[in-house]
């Protein structure tokens, strides 16, 4: 076996090694947090659609994402209902209301969904419970999301407060989560929705939900519906509408850019720290490296030693960085009451490891010049 020179050189200076590991770990944590937020953004954007029992969606072309929908005629939904392969069509109404906190009397925007109580819109079984179904059908009553932020005040069943200056009773609870756009959600019947959003004609809907018969290919139905409907609505599969929503949050808003920048800056920090460490290490061993050259080692060998040191630093720094990031994800998840669906993904774990290796290798490439040009004649 070869003498593990890179490893022995690195581990000989314990303090320096610790500083280097801390530096890499720091960069790795920053990258993980930025990617974590970015990932949770994408996940939050898709979350609502994974809880709706529909494979095909009708939206206005002006709709950017679910919290800012543009209404369109409900006829489009009825037209789509006639297509072969469609099992059921369901309208969805959505918009913001001002919720009054019963304790502080302050108001805060809450996101409201309106549905026909007979439609099984959400894949949330507790909404179908007899108590909740009865509550949905009562006037001036809504169900409230348990994941709504505490700033909305007490959220117990039976609570009475105001939304947009109208009395409202919390008739029941469910667990859904509002993603990035909403701090809290309400679920109410279409009749109640029309009253709270008056004047809001029920002939205009925010989102058209289409449930397909089992085994039907959504892409084919989308094409078929598209043929029938005029251009004032878009027909999208679930994947397409999720993608559209993600693109909005990540690209159209500067959120993606900000987190992307965060990743780049973290990497630069990492490169600089590792460069400093490698450069000092090389400077300290200049005589020895020149001696190796004098006795017949080629520059390529020394180059490889430095690259090895870089890779070792990357891996050693990645391990604590990964572990700490897991803890920070957990912390964030708890702090947001599950509202920010942040979590580790295998793909991300591997990509960040590769990124750490690339980062350290760049540092190696910058610092290695010194050893490659080292003149063996100078050691005499």
């Amino acid at each position: 076996m070869k003498t593990p020179l890179a490893w022995l050189n690195l581990t000989y200076e314990k303090t320096r090694l610790l500083v280097a590991i801390a530096g890499v770990a720091f960069a790795v944590i920053l990258v993980f947090m930025n990617l974590g937020f970015l990932g949770s953004l994408a996940k939050a954007a898709s979350m609502i659609y994974t809880r709706i029992d529909a494979e095909v969606y009708l939206v206005s072309p002006q709709t950017l994402e679910i919290s800012s929908t543009k209404a369109f005629p409900i006829e489009r939904l009825y037209q789509a209902a006639g297509i072969r392969g469609v099992e059921r069509v369901m309208p969805l109404y959505a918009g913001y209301l001002q919720w009054r906190n019963p304790e502080t009397r302050g108001t805060r925007a809450i996101f409201a969904f309106g549905i026909n109580p007979d439609d099984p819109v959400f894949l949330v079984p507790e909404i179908q419970s007899p108590a909740n179904q009865a509550a949905l059908r009562r006037p001036d009553t809504a169900l409230m999301d348990r994941l709504s932020r505490p700033e909305f005040g007490t959220q117990t069943v039976g609570l009475i407060t105001e939304v947009d200056r109208r009395k409202i009773t919390v008739g029941g609870q469910y667990t859904l989560g509002g993603g990035f756009a909403a701090d809290g959600t309400l679920l109410m019947s279409d009749q109640n929705f029309r009253r709270y959003f008056a004047p809001f004609p029920l002939s205009l809907i925010s989102l058209g939900l289409i449930k397909l018969q089992p085994g039907v290919d959504p892409a084919q139905i989308v094409a078929a519906i598209d043929q029938v409907l005029p251009a004032d609505v878009m027909v999208l599969t679930r994947d397409q509408i999720i993608q559209r929503e993600r693109d909005y949050w990540i690209s159209t808003t500067s959120t993606g850019f900000i987190f992307g920048m965060g990743v780049i800056v973290s990497c630069i920090v990492g490169v600089v720290i590792v460069y400093q460490i490698l450069y000092t290490d090389i400077s300290d061993h200049m005589k020895q490296y020149a001696t190796l050259k004098a006795i017949g080692y080629r520059s390529g060998f020394l180059f490889w030693i430095v690259v090895q040191e870089a890779i070792i630093l990357a891996v050693l720094g990645y391990i604590p960085g990964f572990a700490i990031s897991l803890g920070l994800y957990e912390l964030t998840l708890n702090a947001t009451g599950g509202g920010l669906p942040i979590g580790m993904e295998w793909g991300r774990a591997i990509n960040v490891l590769l990124l750490a290796i690339i980062m350290c290798s760049i540092s190696a490439l910058i610092s290695v010049r010194k050893v490659v040009v080292a003149d063996p004649a100078e050691v005499f």
Partner: protein
């Protein structure tokens, strides 16, 4: 002239080093400065040669040229039957693998044990299996049997220099170049180191070229050459050298002690 005809009569393979009309310059253009002038020198196999001369006379420079550590453009410089003049750097590296270098500073890796430092040289030959036993063997010969797994920080100056010598000798190089190997050592360990080099060289018929200012170790030499201002001034056997110099300062008996 007499000397060069004498040299020419020898066959090529009898020599480890053969130098003809070697000139060497440092710097470029206006700053160009000649440091070696018309050097002609032959080192037969198995000979121990000491090179002396005033500071700045070009001894180290000549050593680095023979050691294939610098590129040379004019004259002729044959080392172990390789013509180094005009050779590319990549090929010089190959030649260096057959030469044992001993530097004034030991230049050991602090992070490696004595044995591992020596093994780094063995690995150059792509020998992996018995490298540890080879390293231990040579360290033992140099009296470091109980220090093979010590790091340099735990070794004395003389011991470190002996590890460096072990590294230079382990591959049995045909030619050993040493630049003031005893400069950093006290009288006793300096003496030990040189005697060890002499012993190993004689056993294995190695050629040694050693630069030293240390009069106390001149007696190991078969021959002493003197470089002054970049020119080879004298080239004598040890006895001639001692006679030609101040007998009080360089008493023959002093070397034998």
């Amino acid at each position: 002239m007499v000397r060069s005809t004498l040299l020419n009569s020898m066959t090529e393979t009898d020599h480890s080093v053969q130098i003809r009309q070697l000139n060497y310059f440092f710097g470029q253009a206006d700053l160009r400065k000649q440091v070696l002038f018309d050097i002609n020198l032959d080192l037969p196999k198995g000979q121990i040669v000491i090179m002396t001369g005033p500071s700045g006379s070009g001894k180290t420079t000549l050593l680095t040229l023979i050691g294939a550590l610098r590129t040379v453009q004019s004259g002729s410089l044959k080392v172990l039957n390789h013509e180094l003049v005009g050779m590319r750097k990549a090929d010089l590296v190959e030649v260096r693998r057959n030469i044992g270098f001993i530097f004034q500073a030991h230049n050991l890796f602090e992070s490696l044990t004595a044995s591992q430092n020596v093994e780094m040289a063995i690995e150059l030959l792509n020998e992996w299996g018995n490298k540890r036993s080879k390293a231990v063997d040579v360290l033992t010969q140099l009296g470091l049997a109980d220090r093979v797994d010590y790091k340099p920080a735990a070794l004395s100056g003389g011991q470190k220099q002996r590890v460096a010598i072990a590294r230079a000798l382990v591959n049995h190089p045909a030619l050993i170049l040493a630049d003031e190997p005893t400069a950093a050592l006290d009288k006793k360990s300096g003496r030990e180191v040189v005697t060890l080099m002499q012993k190993l060289a004689q056993q294995e018929g190695r050629t040694i070229l050693m630069v030293t200012h240390d009069n106390r170790i001149l007696d190991v030499a078969d021959r002493i050459i003197t470089l002054v201002d970049g020119r080879l001034e004298t080239d004598e056997t040890l006895d001639n050298f001692v006679e030609a110099h101040d007998p009080k300062a360089l008493d023959r008996r002093m070397f034998i002690m």
